[in-house]
Symmetry: D3
Subunit: 286 residues, 6 copies
């Protein structure tokens, strides 16, 4: 008899066979408001058997995709540096073997751990950021490493003109002002995405998707819901465009299962994950 193996639905390739490696980063220690995203990857894995592997939108099937599920990292709560270090190390290991890392957060700060590894391999890295929140503060309640500062810390790595933000509809006045100078901000929705993807063709791109870019109507299960977001179909369309680029790293974050009594937000997150995996798998050549 074999031991009990649990993977995201259809992601049952071996590491050797895989093009994409997904893994969970269950961490939410800096979440100041309502924690719980630490449970996202575990819940998504468990609930994934309620999802079909086939996408009628793309006419592709996860059973044909080359995805390895690396499980969840064991991250130290209460020591942010250690936690980010572990994420960077794991991401680097995946990149080293020529696989595409797709991380499931956790709070948005985990993105920094992953980007550190990816930016180290791809110095010319650009970042596409879907989110309701700008996350551009320099510090938050005194901490420089926080979910609310993560894109600012990413900017420390990639610099001016490399970050493209969509769906942003919340932040403090100062970070909106700072953003005007340093990042390519597009407020509220996906207007202008087409021009951006046109411009980034051929360049290495990191794609970070905070699921609260969705309107709380279709995604209430997140710690800081922001009314006025996009619909699932708008997000699907935008992801298909981003997926045409040379994605060299990506993550999906901020599902908070405890706030998702009906399970509908988890189902949305899984469908987003499936569509993204299928799109990336189709294009990725290691």
């Amino acid at each position: 008899m074999e031991r009990n193996i649990e993977t995201f639905l259809g992601c049952d390739k071996t590491f050797e066979e895989a093009r994409i490696v997904i893994f969970g980063a269950p961490f939410d220690s800096t979440t100041s408001y309502r924690p719980g995203t630490r449970f996202a990857s575990r819940t998504m894995r468990a609930e994934s058997y309620g999802l079909e592997t086939y996408s009628p939108y793309q006419d592709l099937d996860l059973e044909d995709a080359a995805v390895f599920d690396g499980g969840d990292l064991e991250l130290c709560f209460g020591d942010v540096d250690r936690a980010l270090g572990a994420i960077t190390d794991f991401t680097a290991k995946i990149l080293e073997k020529g696989r595409l890392p797709l991380m499931i957060g956790g709070e948005h700060l985990v993105t920094l751990g992953s980007v550190r590894a990816v930016a180290s391999k791809y110095p010319d890295l650009h970042v596409i950021h879907f989110d309701a929140h700008a996350d551009l503060r320099d510090d938050y309640l005194g901490a420089r490493l926080s979910h609310a500062t993560v894109l600012r810390r990413v900017w420390d790595l990639v610099g001016d003109g490399r970050i493209y933000q969509f769906g942003i509809r919340s932040g403090e006045r100062a970070e909106f002002a700072w953003g005007e100078q340093h990042v390519v901000t597009r407020r509220f929705d996906f207007e202008g995405l087409e021009q951006v993807t046109e411009r980034l063709k051929g360049k290495p791109v990191y794609f970070t998707l905070d699921l609260d870019v969705l309107d709380p109507a279709c995604f209430p299960g997140t710690g800081t819901p922001e009314a006025g977001g996009v619909t699932f179909l708008q997000l699907l369309d935008a992801m298909m465009k981003v997926g045409e680029l040379d994605i060299v790293g990506c993550d999906i974050n901020e599902l908070s299962p405890q706030l998702d009594a009906s399970g509908a937000s988890t189902a949305v997150a899984l469908k987003v994950l499936r569509e993204l995996l299928l799109k990336l798998d189709e294009r990725y050549i290691r």
Copy 2:
């Protein structure tokens, strides 16, 4: 003093006075993922006193409609054949007396019980199917009688070219392929409904409405929510079109009250039921 009588709001006609007979089919034994639709009819009946009897959309009132509430069937859990048999018998009894049966599920498999009776009376039966899922598998985990095979079993009864599907956005590749050959599938939304209703004028039609055709944003309280669905107003509009046909049997299913902490999905289901009853009552001549 009289015994405690509980009916859907406004559905207080006697069987003799009624044109339409509603009844509950509390059954969800084959639900593989998250059960709970067994509680739908009971919860809808109890919560219906929070609903108005008057529809400002149609300017009609349930108090003027001729609807009898037949209560809930007592169905045997763990014996699918017995349960379906009981549904068929009850539906046949209603048809025999010239009333229109409207069943409240339960999981979608209950539709088979009802269609068996209706198809037996109307050999030329056509089926209009609103759903997020194709439900066209030939078997599911080895079982031929399952919520995931129900339209396939209906096809066994009515044959090619009789089933019209709308809103479908989930299934396995094989059933989408099979559907292309045997049913009139319209993916994702209600595009093309008008032509279909045009074509079906004068023919006996069974209308089966899986409420998860709605987007989880407006209907999260269901076992297998599928993002990318229609809005309430789109569904209302589509129902008004279907209601112009000669409906000879119908059902509404897949509300799962345990997944509806806010009660908003139950309220949606009740409003859908009210509008459908008013539309059918207005047209039905036994």
Copy 3:
């Protein structure tokens, strides 16, 4: 050391400095269906620290606004007259000092307490009413003071042609008929709002906002959700139009936190409150 002070985020001006005074009216005794709006003001205050003070929509910040938080009234449950009296007294006190009262309900009946004070100061008062329900019954289960009769009682004060209703999609046939004669009803959405605001320029206006005007998709956390409502962005746009008028009193009501397991409805209510406060503060000259 100072005592623990708790205010809506950013509403930390003194009464002397303030232009607007917000206060809670935690009362829901006449709610016939599902009570719980009594918890709205307390929950909104507690959860407000999860909200940004800055609005990217209006480019204004609550920290610059002149808002005083007067806390919650202590209202007697089970004695409607006493409760309404206390609201009227408190509102009158605010008006007397030349501040604009903004009340957080509570069930919709609390509006009557506030309007009594405002109408007494402004005999030429007009009322703009956003809601899913007409609330125009003359009595409800025998009670003349009820959430379902509140606009009828307001009509007793202001008379024919002074009430403008938007978003209304539920009620009994009789009150829709009565409304046709006595109020300016616009069913279902915000169609015609522009003409109304044009007409009301320069006149004193009371604005009462029942949050269930929103579709349950974006606002499930309310006692009587009604499918077919407006989106947050539609409401935001409509509020900006209303905010151009000479608002002399207003309220927001019917959030029911117990029905808001995810917290998304509370977040919506807070965002609506922030946008309304910023708009009113900008224009208000005492």
Copy 4:
């Protein structure tokens, strides 16, 4: 076909056949803290099919008992006097026909409505009161009719030395002091109950049972849980003693289904009801 009849499990006798009449009093308008007991009778009726009719404790079966379920009263929210009046009228009607009334609350204030009718028939009435709270205030937040004053209002009817309280462990200092003078208070548990039942043999007794006399460990589903209460088996034993007396009216109240996510408190309430009905039915001779 017959209309849908819903009764407490096994309580399917006609009024003519019955010795005991149960009915619901869904009212909680004066509840100052967390409302919701209005849903108790409805929920208990709906959930009762999960209960066995047979009691292994008493070796008696509800199917042999003579109980009629009179359904729920329709009570006016927001008008306490009307609501209590309706309860008194209904109780009087039951007494007139020689049946024993057993009311399901509702908040504890409903007891006053019932006691008014019973005390009018039995001038020599004594009252046994199981509760966590003394409920002896003269007024509460200005209201004389309140869940927190109900036993004081009952004392207005029956006078000194007629009220026996058990399980009481919460109240203000003043009402404990008042109680020392006017009622026979036994704090915290059932100590001394045996002497009381001995003393009351042959006298007409009203038994009012606030379920929060139970420890929150076994009964969390109530608005104002008070640690340090009795266990189910202690309550069962105490009820058997009280049931030996000449009970001429009784009620069970304060279950709040919305606070009972697991359903365990509803199950406890139903078991308490079954045991009480069986005990009373066995002894009652009209």
Copy 5:
């Protein structure tokens, strides 16, 4: 990289090394009241990382125990015979290799699948049954295979005088009467357990533990909670006695995670499992 392996905490031995094999039987199709036990094994596995491997009660550690986690069976919903067959086959396979099977239900009917395999190997089998419910009906709503008939079906296999029941406090009159003739019933608690274990020394014993034997105070998370049960410490003590016998098969069932909002019932179930595993592992010689 290795695939994601998920086991009950500390149960990470290989099948070869193991003395005990645990596995899940996620099945609840015949549950007539509130389903959900299908999620028990999955939830227990996921939540087990919140548990210590060390028992201060027995001074033993799961890390030293020889337990293999065989994962969850994939059982067909809606076909009881197939599901039970799969359980019997899997249990037989474990017995064949000389390991002790410990099954995690699921509803109680799954016990029948396991006992069939065990009784086939040990014709002289005795059964110790801890439960709130007798489960001795011959049929339930027409079905002979049901959670409410499971011990009757076990009796079909082992016959008179072989079944010992403890904690039983619910059932219909007829099954209590039948039980008096055919099984060794001990009502309500563990009185007499010591004599039973004395008598069964040296005989092969199957131990089936329905967790609702616990009082709902400490175990609310189950479909049919029955007040008046035992405490955790009483159960622990009783298990230690049973664990002294020659246990040749066992199961734990009826945790329903959806009814366990606080997680406390899952934590109890895990602690019961840990203590039972440690006790059995210490004694088991294959």
Copy 6:
């Protein structure tokens, strides 16, 4: 008009008048399993209006007690050292002015912040620790500052023979072994407490109360519930004994409101707080 002031019920003295200062430490960043204790102090303050100020157990009233509510500290999530530093500073400030600090956690690690200040003032400090968990690890997942190491870090400050533990029933083998050498451990319940309080008479004592010492039956609302704990009345009795000592600092922690759907655990925590405050206030002479 005055700003909105919110304090624990009856704790409305000024700092000058007070003998005891209560304050919240909303911090749970190192919680590895289920976070949420950050919400405890806020929720307890908000819910406290459902509590009586009078204790019938001690015949004392909070309105007569001299307690100042210092509100909640604003602690930096994701930086443990900063957070603990802020707690130590605030506690020191209270001690300096001769008031008794009573902190409301938060996770148990907050105790370290408080003890640092108290031990600095009272070098001869002894610690009484009520808890389900030993919390004596030297590090946890690599972190030395963690809820699971807090008593070990306290031992670093006070040394051998100064820590007295009661109720402990969970931990790893190693920490139980370490505890045998360095602390005065009493497993499982309050046995031996009387001798301990006898021995500690006249010595300065810090009292730290992890509410999960209670059985999950009466206190399910905590992150790591451990079956087999004490009852409320046992805890009350033990607190009265401890309260006879010279308490120079204390805290109550580990309530997790999100896990307390019924509110019963919050009610228990408030009652524990009330009884402790009354006991300490009665004895404390600054």
